[in-house]
Symmetry: C2
């Protein structure tokens, strides 16, 4: 069992639970040799789902959890009240080191609260940011923070920049990732109070490659590898990305069906177009890690299907192999010690 | 000269000044009978530009201004220091009631500062928001505020909602426009401190059609007619709209040119596609009004060409004919009086 990665998967979370979560788990163990899955959820239901699948039996195990936290429930009360929910049970597996990571497409709020209260933050981490990869013209960028901590402080954003850099460098494989802060202009004196306070602190960070402010216009062009912002703005960026992408694509499809001439053209461009649009489909990149915790927690989209579950599980392998949590711990400790020396 | 609208146009502002500003002015007077243009800028240059154009001479007049405020200049210093700049001279025409409106593609910062300090706010207006129309699936929405006032307070956002409603109803012609506040979830308890404070105040407003929170994902689908947000987030929304739109379109174009088959298809879909993409082109909707001032100030994109200048000038006609400034004054006065009664 050496070097094996154990991923707990919330089989009850998301719009297509449990079927798509189970399919994703099966696909992941078939694709990668060194990952085992702990499927967390209602035992009978999961047994039935698994019966339909072909996979190496010893690599997927059911961990029973009788309750489900619904999306609308107030997160704190849900985490406290539903001790036998798939989210609480799954996160406890990580805390007790019975799993290396937890993947869920369930309630964002409950995952964020549970991540901090059950899995727990690495010592020195002030806030745990949610950091999805977003598609850009020629690749991906990490958007950090994206919904976990509204009304953040400058010191939080500085930690987000550090953690994001470590993730991009070691999980995504971008050497010396460019870190930019979202702003309403590129000049140093521009911005709201939070950005003005954060900017000089980022400039002082010797351990990141800070390139300054970036305007939202430049995000899709890939102007920075790590896009630092507080959660409210990050959430707006992420959701507008999804909404504008799907509106534009549906308008384009509609226009192609508008005349006979364009319908014929549509048939011819379809294969090439499909390939391009796929690179702009968020589900290709797996879920969003909640960084700075003692174990890995990955939040998938609520509408995740097999592919996103599978990619999210596979993502946990690099995270663990690259010792991201340890790297974050070391990085923040070094910074902390330097501060104390001064 | 009854019912004629006089629009001052900054002929020196924008990437394509003065040529495109002059062309836009000419196109506007040719298209609409009741508008006259005051072209503000360097006399000799403008005379030469106008020589090349055919138009009714009495309807375009040059107002000399020897200086130009550059985009990079600190706005307050520029407005104070360059008294003979096209922006200062043009705004003074509005203040002295020698023009009904001022249109400029020049420095945003200078236009915002000049709008407040030279044209002046309507009594009772706390902040003057910049409010562009953005394209949605089936029409347009007003995004307010979009860059004028960072770190706004809840009372400002309430006034933005009121002014935006008046504009959408009377200039754009949307009956009882739906007002939404940008948030990171639709539940009332969601949001950052500013949104949580503003939400109940908007709910109390009897004179607007408040529909609650909207997530950024729903903006492109046209979930609200008036999208209220503070300037930093508004600016991010506007610029991401532009950036993501152009990145997606260039990727789609690229994919259509990738194979022989798709190239042939591209020729066939092109006319239909072009028409669709045009509806998502911001320049079709003219510039963004700075609302709440004693006269109208319209900020065009820095890269505006003839069409955007023309549409921005024409936009001033409805604004004046519909007495928007007076409506705002009355609306805010009534609210103010009601408050005093309490």
């Amino acid at each position: 069992m050496e070097n094996r990665i154990r991923v707990a998967v919330d089989a009850m979370g998301g719009d297509y639970a449990p079927t798509e979560a189970v399919k994703g788990a099966v696909a992941a163990v078939l694709e990668r040799e060194n990952v085992d899955v702990l499927l967390v959820g209602k035992q009978e239901i999961l047994e039935k789902e698994l019966e339909a699948c072909t996979y190496p039996k010893e690599r997927i195990r059911i961990v029973p959890a009788s309750e489900v936290i619904e999306t609308g429930e107030p997160p704190v009360a849900a985490i406290r009240g539903k001790k036998d929910s798939s989210i609480v049970v799954g996160m406890k597996l990580v805390r007790k080191d019975e799993a290396d990571a937890f993947v869920s497409a369930g309630s964002s709020g409950a995952i964020l609260v549970g991540g901090t209260t059950i899995v727990g933050r690495i010592k020195g981490v002030e806030r745990a940011p949610l950091a999805p990869l977003i598609p850009t013209r020629d690749g991906v960028s990490l958007l950090i923070d994206c919904g976990a901590n509204v009304d953040a402080r400058a010191s939080h954003l500085v930690q987000f920049a550090r953690m994001g850099s470590i993730y991009m460098e070691h999980v995504v494989g971008v050497k010396n990732p460019r870190v930019g802060i979202v702003n309403i202009g590129v000049e140093e004196e521009k911005g709201n109070a939070l950005v003005k306070e954060t900017y000089p602190l980022l400039k002082e960070c010797k351990d990141i490659n800070f390139i300054g402010s970036i305007e939202a216009r430049e995000i899709p062009a890939g102007a920075a590898d790590v896009i630092v912002t507080e959660a409210f703005v990050g959430n707006v960026v992420l959701k507008l990305y999804e909404g504008l992408g799907s509106t534009l694509i549906s308008k384009i499809k509609g226009s192609m069906m508008s005349t006979l001439r364009s319908k014929i053209g549509a048939l011819l461009v379809k294969p090439a177009l499909k390939k391009t649009l796929k690179t702009f489909d968020a589900s290709q990149y797996g879920g969003a890690p909640l960084l700075g915790l003692k174990g890995l927690v990955v939040k998938c989209h609520g509408n995740s299907k097999e592919t996103e579950f599978k990619n999210s599980i596979i993502q946990c392998i690099s995270f663990k192999e690259q010792n991201i949590s340890e790297r974050i711990r070391e990085n923040l400790t070094v910074v902390q010690e330097k501060k104390e020396e001064v």
